[in-house]
Symmetry: D2
Subunit: 191 residues, 4 copies
C-alpha cells in the first residue's frame, strides 16, 4: 500500500509532521536507502515510517509509553521491517554509531545535541523540528558549541483551489514549524 494511503488510516496520537516538512528533510539532506537514521521522539511513528518508506534503516526513540505503544502498532501495521522502535529517552544515550541523519521532534531537543553530534558521521545531519521560535533559539545556542553548518528553514505551503474558472489560494494556509538543519562538518580543523 502507498505510504500516504497507509498514513491516512494510521492511528494518530501526538501531532504528526506534515508531508511538506518530511519532504524537505529528505531532499535537503539527500537521504537515500543506504542511510542509518535516528528519530526522536517517535510520536505516532509517522516520520519514522515516511523515512523508512525510502528504505533506510530507522531507529526511533520514544520516552512516553503511551506514544511508544501507538507508534509500535502503526509500524507493525505498515509491514516495514527496517524500523526499530525503543521506549527510551534519547538524552540518556544513543547506541547507534556512524549515523547519517538524526531527526529531533521532542521537548528540549538541545539536551540531545551532544549525544547526537557524537553518533553522527562526518557530513551527517541533525534536523530539529520546532513549533516555537524560542525552541529554535535554544537549540541554536547548543548547536553552536559544535562543529556544524547550520541552516534554518520554514515552509509556508499554500494549497490552491480551482472550481471551473475560479482559481485561488485557499483562504487558510498552514504553518507547522521551523526546521533547523545542522550538518556535522566533514573536515575537523586541528589546531
Amino acid at each position: 500500500m502507498n505510504i500516504i494511503d497507509f498514513l491516512h488510516k494510521a492511528k494518530r496520537g501526538p501531532q504528526v509532521i506534515l508531508p511538506k516538512d518530511a519532504g524537505l528533510i529528505i531532499s535537503e539532506t539527500g537521504l537515500n536507502p543506504t542511510w542509518k537514521v535516528i528519530d526522536a521522539g517517535s510520536g505516532s511513528g509517522f516520520l519514522a515510517m515516511i523515512l523508512g518508506n525510502i528504505g533506510c534503516k530507522v531507529f526511533t526513540y520514544e520516552i512516553r509509553e503511551d506514544f511508544y505503544n501507538i507508534a509500535k502498532q502503526n509500524i507493525k501495521n505498515s509491514g516495514m521491517n527496517n524500523i526499530k522502535i525503543y521506549n527510551k529517552d534519547i538524552t540518556k544515550g544513543i547506541k547507534e554509531k556512524k549515523v547519517d541523519l538524526i531527526t529531533l521532534d521532542m521537548k528540549g531537543p538541545e539536551r540531545a545535541i551532544k549525544n547526537a553530534y557524537l553518533a553522527l558521521k562526518p557530513g551527517g545531519f541533525i534536523v530539529v523540528y520546532s513549533m516555537h521560535i524560542e525552541e529554535v533559539l535554544n537549540v541554536l545556542k547548543e548547536l553552536r558549541k559544535y562543529n556544524f553548518h547550520i541552516n534554518i528553514l520554514e515552509n509556508i505551503q499554500r494549497e490552491w483551489q480551482s472550481f471551473g474558472d475560479a482559481t485561488r489560494p485557499k483562504t487558510h494556509l498552514a504553518h507547522t514549524g521551523f526546521l533547523t538543519f545542522a550538518r556535522k562538518n566533514k573536515i575537523i580543523l586541528t589546531q
Copy 2:
C-alpha cells in the same frame, strides 16, 4: 557522495528544480525505491537524479539535444545506473507501462497528459511543475478530461538567518513554481 554535494558541482544548463519542490514530490506521492518513474523534460537531469537517489527506476525524456547532453553527462558522473535518458519528445509516446509517477517540467505539459494517463498505474501520480499561473490553468483544463484527483500546491520557503542574538527571515525569499498533483483514481466507475 551525498547527492546534494554532487548536485552542487553538477553542470547546470536550464533552470533546475529546488530541493523544497523535489522533496514535496517525494513526500506527497509516497515515492519509494520500488517505483517506476518517468520525468520530462530532463533539463540538467537534477530531478531525475534526486528521484533516482531514492533508488527507484527513472526514465527521463528530453527533446532538446543540448540539454540531453548536459543531463546525460551529469547522470553518468553521478554513477547512478537506475536512470535511463532518452533524447525524445514525450508527447510523441511513452513506452513504459504501469508507471508510478510521471513528472512534467516542460513547455505545454497539457500535450503529454493523455499519454501519461495511459502509462500510469491506477493510484499513480502526474506532477506538473509550472512557473506561470496560466500554465497551471491550461493543464487543469486537460487534467479534468480524465479520472484524476487533483491538488495544487506552492511552497513558499523562507530561510532564516541568525547571527548571535539577531534572528530573522532572510530579506528575500524564493518562489519557484506551482506543483499540480494529479492522482489517477484507483476505482474507475463503470456506468
Copy 3:
C-alpha cells in the same frame, strides 16, 4: 469612535476587505484627505468607510439594492458625511471627474476600466481587488489597452501568537485576494 471599533460592530453583508489590504491601498497610492475617491461595489461599505476615515471625499457605487441598503445604513451609523453612496451600476457611467483613486471590488471589473480611465486624473490610480487569479488575468488584458503603469501585489499576512515562552505563527493564516494597482500615466506621449 475609532473606525476599527466601529467596523467590528457594523453589519456585514457581502465579504468585506481586510485591513491589511485596505492599508496597502492607502500606502501604495499615497491617499490623503484632499483626495476624491470612487469605490465600487460598496458591499457592506467597509472600504468606503476605511478610506472615508482618512478624510477624503468618497463616492461609492453599488448595483445590488440589498447591499446598497446595508452599506447606506452602516455609513449613516458611522457619522461620516464625506461619503456619498449610489445605488447604481458603475459600468453604466461615472459622473465624477478628476478622480484620484478608483477601487474596484466587483464582478467583471474589466467592464469598468474604460470609464474609470476617463474619470481619473493623470497620476491617479485604479486598484482592483480580485479573489481569483482568472479575474486578475482578465483585468490585466483590459488595463493593457490604456496608458497605465501596472503592479500586482498580494499580502500574505501572518499573525503570531505568544503565550509565555512559546511564540509562533498561528497555525492558519489568511489569503484574501490579489490587488492590481494601475496608475494612469502622467505623461501621455503624443505621436
Copy 4:
C-alpha cells in the same frame, strides 16, 4: 506632489519602512487626520511623512544627529507643516500627552514602553517595528507589564509579474520585519 513620488526622490539614510508595513499601521490602528502621533526614531523621516500625509499631527524623535539632519531636510522638502522633529532620546521622556499612536522603530524599544504607556490615551496604540525575532520577544516581555491588548503581525508581500501570457510571483519577495501592536486598554480595572 503625491507622497509616494516625493519619497522616491527623498534622501535615504537608515533603512526605511516599506509601504506595506506603513499601510498596515494605518489600517490596523484606524489612524485619521485628527490624531496625535509620536514616532521614534525618525530615521530618514519616511514613516513620519507617510503618517503626516494623512493629516495628523506627528512628533518624531531621533537620537542621532546625522539621521535627525536627513529627516529634518526631507520633512522640510515635503512641505508638510504638521510634523515636528526633535533631536532627542525618546527613552528620556515624552512631552506630549493623550497621544493616539506611538510608533517605535529603534534599538531597544522596550526602554521606551513605560513612557509610551503613560503618554497614550486609553484606546491608543503602540506599534513596534522589529527586524529580529529576539527584539519581538524582548518587547513582549516589557509590554506584558502594562495593560495592553497585544497583536503580532508580519506581512509577507508578493509582487507578481505578468508579461503577455506569463504571470507569476516574482522570484524573490521581501521580508522586512515584525509589527507588534499593543493597544492600551480603555477600561482599567480597579482593584
